[in-house]
Symmetry: C2
Subunit: 136 residues, 2 copies
Amino acid sequence: MDLHAAEKPHLNGKECGTSGWDAGNCPVRDVIDRIAGKWSTLLLEALARQPYRFGELRRLVPDISQRMLTQTLRDLQRDGYIDRQVFPTKPPSVEYRMTALGHSLFEPLSKVLQWAGDKHPAVKAARQKFDEGELS
Amino acid sequence: MDLHAAEKPHLNGKECGTSGWDAGNCPVRDVIDRIAGKWSTLLLEALARQPYRFGELRRLVPDISQRMLTQTLRDLQRDGYIDRQVFPTKPPSVEYRMTALGHSLFEPLSKVLQWAGDKHPAVKAARQKFDEGELS
DNA sequence: TAGCGCTAGTCTCTTTTTGAGACCAATATT
DNA sequence: AATATTGGTCTCAAAAAGAGACTAGCGCTA
């Protein structure tokens, strides 16, 4: 129940504001909120490369709990980014595979990941500067 | 498989795994975890357009609490994406403005946001299909 | 044949994060 | 004189996430 009791999206009674830009942006938020999780991009990056099974993903991302792995994979599946295929082998195995929609998302997303890798030194420097100035 | 290792935020001193895991080689996660929050992209999108003051942002994103607005702005500032400038007016006002680093991040990021807007129908359809199949 | 591990998860408990709302001091408005 | 606005902080409750035990059927092996 815990997992399935997944929250219905944002309160819908209220529009996204009345002034200009936000009105058309609720769909964006609806989509972004799901891929903005702590683990989503990590799993998407893995599955963009190749399909993986549950246990493989768990080993690939050692600090994710089984609970969050299950939940995140299900969320990604629900939004259509990945497919879940069960093989009725002796111990049943499950394979997760990125869909076409997932790949089309990952194309722009990978640019952000690349930016993060490239600019990491600048970010680290900014952090250090900020923390020093705060110490006063 | 050099996925980003588990270097956690500054509050968490836990080292990355013990076996074959390069702690220094997970810069992507270090950066992404910060902009992957629920409110970060929303604020970045606003500030990419123009500078805003605290209260303006609060009105622009009506469902953010003051507490999270303060905290998210400070995180974004710490990572060097935005600047905070205090004007000693009668009631002191504070302006937040995107930095060059922030703009350079927003360039690839905006592509993802655009994708989200474009593909929202597909995602919604996937969700509906998933939820129907689960109902059985 | 009793024990172990593997599969993909779920269940419960605890800790962390987030949300809601009161409070702040100085000034401006009504 | 009472009230609202400025940009926050503080406390407390609710939600989300982390940790770890538990499940079932099968294969291996000691």
